[in-house]
Symmetry: C2
Subunit: 619 residues, 2 copies
């Protein structure tokens, strides 16, 4: 069952660009050196079915998380890692120093181990760290009024060039539950949101390969994809490709949840090749170091793990510091007890030692590490419910209150912080989670796993959870952690990752639409217009998954001619409503005068109103 770990092979990495798409790079104004990557989808012309006149359709620019892998002009070599775009920005701030060697004992042991040479990333960079007394977090800069290149980057990125769209269609007014989303995101708005703690820009100074992105309820809803090998399966090359693959389909963040062998080395490969921020749960690796015995965990081992990972470039740490000894008994009567791995590890530690969690007691020391590298907190919900019955219980909300207290401590240190949330929650109990989180945690971004809205569909938990994710995203959650079809059953393969990512892109986008995020409807409108006009290629190319859309279409109508056919296999040529609808338009265009005259002949009801509008019918 277990495969041998090996270094990644270049040919396994997916680098195909998206169809009819080109990478574009938008430069900064305040920071002209920044180049914000976006994807521009070219569209075909619209042909008027009556006059046959052609009208061009403006290309659609979309948010792009895929990094250099989809840029045919770039040559990516995973053995070197991708371009370190933020490195000069970090250095220019003059508040970091380059260390001569890694600070973590464990890291240095691994580096000296010759047996690992064959799977090591070859071009290790020396780690950077804040100069003594300096704080290099984006929150720290923000509070000082500094707009960093990272901040301008995300402002440009969030806007998606929508202000350049001619005739941007009017979209529905959303219901945003108190979010405050401006029409155009300015760098100053980004700075202000980060300073208030309402947004997080994950950006470890040792992960300069990452393209800046922002989490917050006043920005586009983001998604996270979990990858990671485990003790029973997977190997490094698969994990690197899974990360690249997840970004390709739209993951804004990746969490590396590896628990098997060689996770230090696997992580290095992933970070060096990841265009998106990387999160981890350091307690998993710490537990490896004590051979899986939770009781044997110590603050010293955990601290060394934090430093090890911070110097590799992990952008955020899930830390279950809210699992307090006194909360553990509250889970005793649950159907599924504690289902968070980190939560159960810490609960076991607390009970075994009859002591308060060292994550809680050493929280300020952890903050000191975080701010020296700009690692953000993802405060873990170790007591999240693992089934519908356990939703919104005493244990869950007790922990949430503690996460709120810890948020305030983190903010005191200018450490960026977001909060993890459930889990398994029936639909009608989802909103309470959002409301309580906003209140307890001072509007720090919320980051939820689903939630799953029923427990009865293992094999389809991307869907049970996609429903909850869309809803909680609408209510104000900043990032949605994906769930794949394999949840509760096994480790996701590449297709599962793709399915999970696309499902969560759907949830995030549905949430943006419902919040009334400015311009969110643009892509929907462009795709729907293409659909109505039977521009099949445009319909595929504008889709979240162009390849699958085309594949499904071609299963029944494979011929290229069918791509311009004014019908599809669902109804056939005679029954297509869109075709008939188009015929109605054409018919009315020809018979305009007759049509309005006819009304006078027979119909009384609404005749006046119809007549008034008659000259406009289908013109």
């Amino acid at each position: 069952m277990k495969k041998q770990d090996t270094a990644p092979q270049q040919h396994l990495i997916t680098t195909t660009p998206f169809p009819a798409s080109r990478k574009i790079y938008v430069s900064g104004t305040m920071h002209p050196e920044i180049k914000v990557a976006m994807r521009e989808i070219q569209l075909e012309d619209t042909t008027d079915s009556y006059t046959k006149k052609k009208t061009p359709n403006q290309p659609v620019t979309v948010y792009d998380t895929s990094g250099p892998y989809t840029d045919s002009a770039k040559n990516v070599d995973v053995h070197n890692g991708i371009e370190r775009i933020r490195e000069s920005w970090v250095v220019k701030r003059n508040d970091v120093e380059q260390l001569e060697e890694f600070s973590s004992t464990y890291c240095n042991q691994r580096l000296k181990d010759k047996n690992l040479d064959h799977l090591r990333f070859n071009h290790l960079h020396k780690p950077k760290k804040a100069k003594k007394g300096k704080n290099v977090s984006q929150m720290h800069y923000a509070k000082q009024g500094i707009i960093t290149p990272e901040m301008e980057y995300v402002a440009i990125r969030e806007n998606q060039k929508l202000h350049e769209v001619k005739q941007l269609s009017k979209q529905h007014t959303g219901q945003n539950f108190g979010a405050n989303i401006p029409d155009v995101i300015t760098p100053e708005f980004v700075r202000d949101e980060i300073a208030r703690g309402r947004a997080v820009l994950p950006s470890n100074i040792n992960h300069p390969e990452s393209e800046p992105m922002i989490l917050g309820r006043n920005f586009l809803v983001k998604i996270n994809a979990n990858i990671g090998n485990s003790a029973t399966t997977s190997c490094i090359e698969e994990e690197v490709e899974k990360a690249v693959w997840a970004c390709r389909w739209g993951a804004d963040n990746i969490m590396d949840l590896s628990t098997g062998d060689n996770i230090h080395e696997t992580r290095e490969w992933i970070i060096r090749n990841s265009p998106v921020p990387i999160g981890t749960v350091p307690i998993y690796q710490a537990l490896e170091k004590v051979n899986g015995k939770a009781e044997d965990l110590t603050w010293e081992i955990f601290k060394d793990t934090l430093i090890e990972q911070a110097e590799q470039g992990v952008d955020y740490f899930t830390i279950h510091a809210g699992v307090r000894l006194s909360y553990v008994p509250m889970t005793a009567k649950r159907i599924t007890g504690i289902v968070s791995r980190g939560g159960s590890i810490m609960a076991k530690w607390c009970l075994a030692h009859h002591k308060e969690s060292f994550l809680y007691t050493h929280f300020e020391e952890i903050c000191e590490i975080m701010k020296a590298y700009d690692v953000a907190f993802s405060l873990g919900d170790g007591l999240r419910p693992g089934c519908i019955a356990d939703a919104n219980d005493e244990a869950q909300f007790a922990e949430l209150e503690t996460l709120g207290e810890l948020t305030k401590i983190a903010w005191k240190h200018d450490v960026q912080t977001f909060i993890e949330g459930p889990g398994h929650v029936p639909m009608h109990m989802i909103k309470t989670n959002m409301d309580k989180q906003l209140e307890a945690c001072g509007e720090a971004p919320f980051y939820t796993l689903g939630p799953l809205t029923t427990d009865i569909a293992p094999g389809y938990d991307h869907i049970t959870s996609g429903i909850g994710a869309a809803m909680i995203g609408w209510y104000g959650t900043a990032m949605l952690c994906y769930v794949t079809p394999k949840e509760h059953l096994g480790l996701p393969n590449k297709q599962d990752v793709r399915t999970g990512v696309i499902t969560y892109k759907i949830a995030a986008h549905a949430a943006d639409l419902a919040k009334g995020h400015p311009g969110a409807q643009h892509r929907d409108d462009a795709l729907s217009k293409a659909r109505f006009e039977f521009r099949w290629n445009d319909q595929f190319n504008l889709a979240l998954d162009p390849e699958l859309a085309r594949e499904y279409h071609d299963e029944t109508l494979p011929a290229e001619g069918a791509k311009i056919a004014h019908f599809c296999s669902m109804c056939g040529p005679k029954f297509c409503s869109m075709k008939i609808s188009q015929e109605v338009r054409d018919y009315a265009a020809k018979k305009e005068i007759e049509a309005s005259n006819a009304l006078e002949e027979g119909l009384q009801e609404k005749a006046a109103e119809f007549k008034e509008k008659g000259s406009e019918v289908y013109l």
Copy 2:
């Protein structure tokens, strides 16, 4: 591309029973002859991980739509059709007559056509019809205070034997938005709901094979699966198997949307073998009869089609009688115009003739046909939005008002009626649809297609719509029309049907949970308990799709030993939170006294509370 139609072959029909399940039949009290089919899932014992003591788990009974196909004691021969369980009930009422021949001209033409002999259903039954002056609708009986066997059947069916469950766990209080769901459904409650028009029991007297089911917001949320061949693909045997297959996975209703050749014969095969009610859109077939030219449609052709289908046993007709001439111009500025096939056909007819729709003008005549066979109205939303931009517009709601008027006319004739709804609607605009429908249509059941909550994911529209379906189900929709992954792209194959059905079972069940439907949480709790106790087989067997759950698990851990392993491939043996959580329980059980003493030593916070509960920790 086009396959030859042939009669179905027995071996193509799926008859495998579900794992660890047996069919049970619950008898009636008022009507002892009725036998309500349910599925009982056997569970393994719970083994206490500390004492090793075994405790049995009560079997879980679930709602079962799969008909005789999953009963290993029954031998189904598709050439004879399935058992006609309702036939004697219908005859006993003494208000129907058996006709010597079919009343529809078209039907008789087809019967005389020797070229169709090879694909004809062989054991045609003579049609039944209400005796002159009689009304055989369930609504008519209900208004007279008669509780039919059909009504008692659905009462027993809805209760799912939940009142027999020992220790039914307490479930969350739901939010039901004004629904009124009793703890136990009585036959009298069913009657009353049907009499008020708030529920529909589709039950054409010519489809006695159908196992009674009910649609209404005070009952379990139901789902519909569309099948049907089209002019470009598919054949009879595939369609029959698709119907059986859809019921297997949980479809409560089937709509046969065939538009290709031989749809009369295909429909006969489907109805004779369908344990669930069948709906159609008669205008599709009527359009076939005029070679696809909407302008050539006449009331006479349509009427003959209604009679043809009513005598075959179609349980409900989608009729787009709300598409009035004056509403057509309201769709002119939409991005996707009219996307309902029926709607666009009628719009074209109205414009071509400059006349009010014959469906509208002949509505009372249609009612006369409906009540002679107990066909229910599914009043079609021909002007539903086809994209996010067009949601909740003037055209849509104008039609809804008309559907409300027509509902009142139908009710005057005691014709059972439900109302079709959208479509494509962003999340925050979904509830308005439900609220307006309840008001305009006097609480007649709502039956929606999704709605899709974004347009940008063709290939995944089961998910974009599953989100909206779950929400609108929660708000009060009685039946959710499924959407498959092929929506907008092609005709669903068997796997697409399965995916669509399971997705919608998820949506319906998530809605039941959120409404607080009594006992809805029972299956969730049973599955979650099995999950926590690592009863893998029970976890699979309780799932909506046991086969897929097992398949996914076995992909990474195929050995039978892994089915009792206290971990899974996701985390591996050392990291499994459930295993650790169990260890915490065991540990605490052993160290009970130490655990409570320890608190006194150091921790102040919550100490009193913890101590008080201390003796209960993980016992």
